[in-house]
Structures are given as structure tokens and as C-alpha cells.
């Protein structure tokens, strides 16, 4: 299972890459492995205001449906259209081409406390198994 060191993680298995106040979000390798073949992704419109922990989309595999939640409060700036057209990218490249949204975050400094670093997330996944 891949857990890149430079990312932050939620308990719902989203990852967040923080670059100044822009946060790129996707789901983790652990999550895609649990889901199996992803066949459909729905994401809210650009411009939507999200609170930390609020649902911003749905990821469907052959067998199941999972909601995805925003790791930070902010405004949804960009949706990865290429991913909507090729949902299987989630299984192939969860931390790269399968990024889901870019978020203009409003309070990274405070909200980051609610996320895990790579080490804590790895431990969290092991305990979940």
C-alpha cells in the first residue's frame, strides 16, 4: 500500500496535497484497493462551498458506492474532468492522475489538526484491517 509522505489524510481515506492555500484532493491507495474497479465518479460543481468533512462527490465501483468528503473548508475551484471520463484512473494512479478536486481552502492552519500525517494514516489503516 502506497502512502506518500508529503500528503495529509482523513479518516474517510481522502488524501490532501497542500500548496499554499490550494489543496488537491483524491482518495488513497488503500481506499481504491478496498473499492475495487471504479466505474463511475460524480463530483459537485465548481464554485461549490464546502465545509471540512462535507461530501463533495461519490465514487462507485462495480459492487459499491462511497461518498467522498472534503478534507478542508473552502471553495471547489476545479474538478478533474479527465477523471470523470476515465474513472478507472482511481485504481491505476490514485495519487496522480486520479486527483479529484482542487480546493481554495479557507482555514488550513486550524483544520490541518484534524488530518493525519502519512505515518499516522498507515497505522490507522493497519488497525482497520
Amino acid at each position: 500500500m502506497q502512502v506518500p509522505r508529503d500528503l495529509r489524510y482523513t479518516k474517510d481515506h481522502e488524501w490532501a496535497r497542500i500548496e499554499k492555500d490550494i489543496v488537491t484532493v483524491g482518495i488513497t491507495d488503500y481506499a481504491q484497493d478496498k473499492l475495487g474497479d471504479v466505474v463511475f465518479i460524480e463530483i459537485q460543481e465548481e464554485g461549490t462551498t464546502l465545509k471540512q468533512g462535507e461530501k463533495f462527490g461519490t465514487v462507485e465501483s462495480v459492487k459499491s458506492v462511497s461518498d467522498v468528503f472534503s478534507p478542508f473548508s473552502g471553495t471547489l475551484k476545479e474538478v478533474n474532468r479527465a477523471l470523470i471520463d476515465n474513472p478507472e484512473l482511481v485504481n491505476k494512479d490514485p495519487y496522480g492522475r486520479a486527483w479529484m478536486i482542487k480546493l481554495s481552502a479557507s482555514d488550513i492552519e486550524n483544520e490541518i489538526k484534524n488530518l493525519m500525517d502519512a505515518e499516522a494514516y498507515e497505522k490507522y489503516c493497519k488497525e482497520a484491517d
Binding site: G36, D37, V39, F40, E42, T58, E60, S61, V62, K63, V65, N91
Partner: protein
């Protein structure tokens, strides 16, 4: 949870597991879509040892089976198999089964894993005449080999198996054990199902994997088993079939032979036919990318006309598909499916989804 003799094999193959019928079974190995397409295009091997086997034997076995099930058992010759049901007095489906005529006076019922105890008790409770009833589900393993290259694979181990006709079987031996090989399956492809003593299951699996190597055989989990049967519109107990509704609204009405002598559930079915069948099972192919799921409401304009029984993604059609019971008396082409509060449209089709 119970395990089949192949549990360690599945673990070595890195299977993801799920609970099914009290067993810990492989959901998938490399991925449902890949496995599904391997069965459609080449060949796949399934561990279905969780399925049950109930034997009925004795002078009056035929008469008893005729009484227990709605299809014409007497039309079965020895070495022939038949799809049928166990029905309750109200005509509801206790289980869907395959009946194998092993000898003039001996039959094997292959039943769903989750229903073994229910079926066995039902059969015991209705025992009539000179028959012996034995539940050997725990001792017998079952391997299914499905796909257009399944006969090439099986022929390499069991020479002459190619001549078996659909829904017939032969009894052979393998690793010193008796094996029943039938040309049946649940995928819509050519295929074989093998019943053998638990002790020989792993050896049989390994031999089939070896024989299938030139044909790119793959182990297939229950995930793809479900998408394969869904594309063919095959009803599944617990989804399309249940104890409280008759099979008359399904595409399996042909199984019910109301012209035969008394059988359990016959009166209720006759009354149901007289009253008129109000629901029918249809297929829905979604227009967009959304995937319908079990229990999603089906709407015509603003009116709910039914509910999704099976909803999944079809790897062959790259679309969401659903089976649903809808009102029988309306001609419908396009319907809406309410998927988690949002209405998506789909086209109603005659089953199966995949015409072969």
C-alpha cells in the same frame, strides 16, 4: 465462518474475501471487470463449493421429486439435469435448484448455499413414501469452469467431455474419487460444473488451472459471478426470487408446469394465474453513467411502478443495468430510476441484456 477446501488457495492468490451463505468466499482476485471479461472471452474457474447438495434416493424418489418441484422431473433421463424450484404452499420460492438424475431412482438437488438448511428441512418435512434424503453439502466441493474455452480446458483432463450436451452430465473419476461433470453454469457462456468429494477439490482445481494455462484461464470471484449472471438476466434467490412471491412474474415462468399432477404450490399458482399476473421482470439499461442499485425505485413519469431487484455495472455493455419488477399492464420504453434521490433515465429491454 465456514471455509471451502480452497480457502488457502484463494489466500495465496491474494483474493479479497466476502461472506456469502455462511462461507468466507473470494469476492475477487485481480478485479471484477477483468475477471468478468476473461469468462466472456476465454475461460474462468470458480470455487462454488459453498453450494449445497441434497440427495434423494429410493423406489419412490421420482414421485417424491415430482411432488416437491414444479418442473417435469419424469422427463429427465438419467444423466440429465433440470432447472427448477422448491416452492412453498403459497407458490413462493424457497429456493431455485438444479435437479440431477443420477439413476432411475436417485436424484441430486444442487441448492443455494444460504438455503441449504432451509431446503433440507423443507424436504424432510414433506417426505413421502419410500425415499432416503441425505444432505451432503458439507462433504462435496464444487468447481465451475465457464467461458468459450472451457471445453478446451476440460477436454485436456476429461477426454470426450466435449460431446456432453447442455444440461447433461457424466460421472467419471478423478484422483480416486467419483466426479460429476455437468454442462451447466450461471454465466451465459458454455461451461461445466464439477461435484467432487472435498478431499479431491484442491487437486481438481490445480489440474484445471494447469489445463487452462494455454487458454489464459483465471480464477473468478463471486463479484464477477454476479455481474455475469446479471447480464444474462438470470434471477438470483434473495434478489429476484423470494419466499413471498411466485416465480410467475419472472422470466422463469416456463419452469412451472401447471399441466402436471399435484405439486407443492400448484393450487396457489393456479389461482395467481386466474387472477392475472400484475408484475413482470424487465431489464433496464441506463442512458448515462449512473449505476442503479438494489431497491432503487423505478418511475414512469412521476409514478413509482416498481423497484430494482438487481442493479450493477455491466462490464460487457460498460453501462449501469438493472432488473426490476414493474406493473405488467403498461407499455413502457423509458423509465426513471431514483438513485439516491436523483432521477436517472434508462431504457426498458427484454431480458437478457446480452443477446448471445
Amino acid at each position: 465462518m465456514k471455509h471451502t477446501p480452497l480457502y488457502e488457495t484463494h489466500k495465496r492468490l491474494n483474493a479479497k474475501f466476502m461472506e456469502f451463505g455462511g462461507y468466507e468466499m473470494p469476492l475477487q482476485y485481480t478485479g471484477i471487470i477483468e475477471e468478468h471479461l476473461n469468462v466472456r472471452n476465454r475461460v474462468g474457474i470458480f470455487d462454488v463449493s459453498h453450494m449445497g447438495e441434497i440427495f434423494i434416493k429410493g423406489k419412490e424418489a421420482l414421485a417424491f421429486c415430482e411432488w416437491l418441484t414444479p418442473n417435469h422431473v419424469s422427463r429427465l433421463t438419467v444423466n440429465q439435469a433440470q432447472y427448477s424450484f422448491l416452492l412453498n404452499d403459497a407458490g413462493g420460492v424457497i429456493d431455485d435448484i438444479i435437479i440431477y438424475r443420477l439413476a432411475e431412482d436417485e436424484f441430486m438437488f444442487c441448492v443455494n448455499a444460504s438455503n441449504v438448511d432451509k431446503d433440507y428441512n423443507w424436504i424432510l418435512m414433506h417426505k413421502r413414501g419410500n425415499v432416503e434424503i441425505e444432505n451432503r453439502s458439507e462433504d462435496i466441493g464444487m468447481i465451475s469452469v465457464q467461458g468459450p474455452l472451457s471445453s478446451h480446458t476440460m477436454e485436456a483432463i476429461f477426454g470426450g467431455i466435449n460431446t456432453l450436451k447442455r444440461f447433461t452430465f457424466k460421472i467419471d473419476s478423478f484422483a480416486g474419487k467419483q466426479i460429476i461433470i455437468s454442462r451447466t453454469g450461471y454465466t451465459g457462456e458454455d461451461g461445466f460444473e464439477c461435484f467432487i468429494d472435498n478431499e479431491a477439490v484442491v487437486k481438481l482445481w490445480d489440474s484445471i488451472i494447469e489445463a487452462g494455462k494455454p487458454h489464459a484461464i483465471k480464477p473468478i470471484g463471486l463479484g464477477a459471478r454476479d455481474t455475469l449472471r446479471a447480464e444474462m438476466g438470470y434471477p438470483l434467490y434473495g434478489m429476484e426470487l423470494n419466499d413471498t412471491s411466485t416465480p410467475l412474474s419472472t422470466n422463469l415462468g416456463w419452469v412451472i408446469k401447471l399441466d402436471k399432477a399435484a405439486f407443492i404450490g400448484k393450487e396457489a399458482l393456479e389461482i395467481a394465474v386466474q387472477k392475472g399476473i400484475t408484475k413482470k421482470l424487465v431489464g433496464i439499461v441506463m442512458n448515462g453513467r449512473s449505476i442503479p442499485r438494489h431497491k432503487n425505485p423505478v418511475l414512469l413519469k412521476d409514478k413509482v411502478i416498481g423497484e430494482v431487484t438487481t442493479g450493477t455495472y455491466s462490464p460487457s455493455l460498460s453501462r449501469g443495468i438493472a432488473m426490476a419488477y414493474v406493473d405488467n399492464n403498461i407499455e413502457i420504453n423509458e423509465v426513471g430510476v431514483d438513485i439516491r434521490g436523483i432521477l436517472h433515465t434508462g431504457n426498458v429491454i427484454q431480458l437478457p441484456f446480452l443477446k448471445k
